[in-house]
């Protein structure tokens, strides 16, 4: 019954809606006029129209939008006679103006995103003065600007506002490519010691000595997060070591896709270690997508099973400390790695080793020592050096009020 009512009201609404443009167009044809809605507007409330209305194709977009700018009306000030501006549009050659939208007083621009590319349009901006009481319009008057146009929208092939990002991206990619090639050619690349990764063998060994299991927590984000990918890459190495040492490894996950990937990785690692028969499907199991439900389950596993070693590798949020402190309370050796800056302090306080941000992403290269992977890390370092130099130059120039350099790095908004 409820649905029929909703459908019926939508139908009534649509019929009304279909009839509405004609009446709106009728109202909009006069250049200056007063519209009386519920009550007669008092005299001298009609606002002065907006001046210098300009229209142009909205730049650097995929088409379908036109930008309208105007100078504020002289009546647009605190206590003035303007409450809003109404933008009206008609196709060139017709006089059927439809309301496109309202901009509040004080605003001198509007973007019409409901146009079709290639069609010419004319625009008018109406300055409105309305009196509202309890949300209801008591009276409303408006004065239109002259029609402006024609203008048509089009799509662009390159977003010029992002040229700086493009240059930066190309530079970073080239630096990484260059060092990958260099590494391929056999050049030895130095990578500093990362304590957290050096201790992986020791941590797995400890679990073997104690005869307890290893717990691997791959974070609470899905496979579309690079942190999760970096986390499960470490899982491969840990699982292989666990298989070699004949130590049980358990991977509780909070996303189905992570479960599928982690299963595949652990299975592969067991094969590589020469013990494919020791792999049990249930070692990798799903718990829940819910953040704190997951944290509760991990805490439960930690308290009941008392694993000797716990790895936290991936994206973590407020649940990080809840899990890491529980692990700490049972005396497990804990190694964490995340790219969430806000969770790093918690892991540092509760874990034995923490991979800070980029160390997590370097883990796969570090553990495998594959030259091409190491090369990419070297390229990343060069990009970082370039950023550092830019920051220093920027700071010096800003200090002397030269802003052009820092403006080049500006990306906010379109």
């Amino acid at each position: 019954m409820k649905y029929y009512c909703i459908r019926f009201s939508i139908l009534v609404f649509l019929i009304f809606f279909a009839a509405a443009p004609a009446s709106i167009a009728q109202e909009a044809t006069n250049t200056t006029m007063a519209v009386d809605t519920l009550a007669q507007a008092p005299p001298d409330v009609t606002p002065v129209m907006a001046k210098n209305v300009t229209v142009r194709d909205n730049p650097d977009d995929g088409g379908g939008s036109i930008r309208i700018d105007w100078d504020l009306s002289v009546d647009d000030h605190e206590g003035g006679k303007i409450t809003a501006y109404r933008v009206l549009r008609s196709e060139a050659g017709t006089d059927d103006y439809v309301v496109v939208g309202d901009a509040p007083a004080g605003k001198s621009e509007f973007v019409d995103n409901a146009v079709t590319d290639g069609i010419e349009y004319l625009y008018k901006v109406a300055a409105i003065n309305e009196l509202k009481r309890n949300g209801e319009v008591i009276w409303s008057v408006m004065s239109d600007s002259d029609p402006i146009g024609p203008v048509k929208s089009s799509a662009q092939w390159f977003n010029m506002q992002r040229i700086n990002v493009f240059v930066g991206t190309v530079f970073v990619c080239l630096a990484i490519f260059f060092f990958i090639q260099k590494a391929k050619s056999g050049q030895d690349l130095y990578i500093r010691k990362i304590a957290g990764l050096e201790s992986v063998d020791e941590a797995v060994g400890r679990a073997t000595e104690m005869g307890r299991k290893i717990l691997f927590v791959p974070g609470i984000n899905d496979m579309d997060n690079v942190q999760t990918i970096a986390g499960v890459a470490i899982l491969g190495r840990v699982a292989q070591l666990a298989a070699e040492y004949e130590t049980q490894i358990e991977v509780p996950v909070s996303r189905s896709l992570v479960m599928i990937t982690a299963k595949e990785i652990v299975k592969e690692s067991y094969s590589k270690a020469g013990r494919p028969d020791a792999f049990n499907e249930d070692q990798v199991h799903y718990i829940t997508d819910d953040q704190f439900g997951y944290a509760a389950a991990i805490d439960g596993i930690i308290v009941r099973d008392k694993p000797a070693t716990i790895f936290y590798m991936g994206a973590f949020f407020a649940e990080s400390l809840i899990m890491a402190e529980t692990g700490n309370s049972i005396g497990a050796i804990q190694i964490a790695g995340t790219g969430q800056p806000s969770q790093l302090p918690f892991f540092v306080a509760s874990c034995d080793y923490t991979l800070i941000g980029e160390e997590l992403f370097a883990a796969s290269a570090y553990l495998s020592r594959e030259p091409r992977l190491l090369g990419s890390i070297k390229g990343q370092d060069v990009a970082k050096a370039a950023i550092l130099i830019s920051i220093i130059i920027g700071v010096i120039l800003e200090t002397f009020s030269i802003y052009q350099f820092s403006n080049f790095f500006r990306v906010i908004g379109e």
């Binding site: 909703i6 939508i10 609404f13 909205n58 995929g62 939008s65 409450t83 809003a84 309301v99 496109v100 939208g101 309202d102 509040p104 007083a105 004080g106 605003k107 509007f110 973007v111 995103n113 409901a114 509202k132 309890n134 949300g135 209801e136 984000n221 579309d224 997060n225 953040q291 704190f292 994206a315 949020f317 407020a318 309370s329 969430q340 800056p341 806000s342 969770q343 990306v411 906010i412 908004g413 379109e414």
Partner: protein, 327 residues
């Protein structure tokens, strides 16, 4: 396991007992409240002395005191002076600068666990918007976000000030509901809101909603506010909403998340920030509607002082251990 279930049963029984035995909330007078505070301070001092004498306290004692510090203030009638921080003031000023009729997009990206911190922010922000005749468009990147918005609006609607405004759904505010896809939702909203929200929370078609039918994307939005408890949240709104589509953004974050978004304030990508319960209380103060944020701040103050006390105790134990070690 049997033991565990027995403990749960006992906790449940005790809860029911308290529920029926104590029919109305107990509020201590100010004098009694101060006596309790002094007593707690004396016990802490005793723990410090015992620590210096060589006794080591385990973490359960810390838990006990934190528990007391959080719970006791609910029964006390204490007031504290809340100072306004620049981040909160900046957000308030940005909202106050908006002209009546401006469109404000509010994304509630959190779920009930973070509600104690973020719900007071949502309530006071909505109230401020409605009082200033700003048109509010609600959405959520977390499934439970829009439901939290409904709870907030339901709550503030009871106040006579809001009732007098005669708010109408569809005209003054709209709840577009939840959309899956995390940051991709923001990205696609940059092209078209309607492509992500064909219907609102109640199933009404987008084009049938008076308030949003002429809003096609961010270019028609005057201000955005995001309440975030993690991913997706403020960081994604900044990276996509602000950097790509020029959204003017303010945010409210849980205390855990807030430090991470501070850099975005000074860079101008965030207009203002409400950080944790403290931010909520400050916003309540500046908007003049005191609510749960202000009330819960007393607990927060107590808890912080207790943690600091235990840090001092911990350090006393550490130095003592060092000295003994040297001997």
């Amino acid at each position: 396991m049997k033991k565990d279930f027995m403990i749960y049963a006992v906790v449940l029984a005790l809860t029911l007992l308290f529920y029926f035995v104590i029919p109305k909330p107990i509020i201590f007078s100010t004098a009694v409240s101060y006596i309790i505070i002094v007593l707690i301070a004396v016990v802490l001092l005793f723990i410090l002395i015992r620590t210096i004498q060589g006794k080591v306290y385990e973490r359960r004692i810390v838990f006990l005191f934190v528990g007391i510090a959080v719970v006791l203030p609910f029964f006390m009638s204490l007031q504290q002076k809340i100072e306004l921080s620049p981040e909160v003031k900046a957000l308030y000023d940005a909202v106050m600068e908006l002209k009546p009729g401006s469109k404000v997009l509010v994304s509630l990206d959190y779920d009930p666990p973070s509600a104690p911190e973020l719900q007071p922010m949502a309530e006071s922000f909505f109230e401020l918007c409605f009082k200033r005749d700003l048109k509010v468009i609600i959405m959520g990147l977390w499934p439970q976000g829009p439901q939290q918005a409904e709870l907030a609006i339901q709550k503030i609607s009871k106040s006579p000030d809001i009732q007098a405004l005669n708010l109408q759904y569809g005209r003054d505010y709209v709840n577009l509901g939840f959309q899956t896809g995390n940051e991709f939702v923001i990205q696609r909203m940059g092209g078209s809101f309607k492509s992500m929200f064909q219907t609102d929370y109640y199933g009404t078609p987008y084009d049938s909603l008076e308030l949003v039918k002429n809003i096609s994307n961010f270019s028609n939005i005057d201000f955005s506010f995001n309440l975030s408890a993690g991913y997706p949240g403020t960081i994604e709104w900044v990276q996509i909403g602000v950097d790509r589509f020029g959204v003017k953004l303010g945010a409210g974050n849980t205390a855990v998340q807030a430090p991470q978004v501070y850099p975005y304030i000074r860079s101008g990508q965030l207009v203002g920030l409400l950080g944790g319960l403290n931010g909520a209380a400050e916003f309540e103060k500046v908007t003049g509607v005191l609510g749960k944020g202000t009330k819960f701040m007393v607990s927060q103050s107590f808890a912080h002082v207790i943690v600091i006390a235990f840090i001092i105790i911990g350090n006393a134990a550490y130095f003592l251990g060092e000295r003994k070690g040297r001997k």
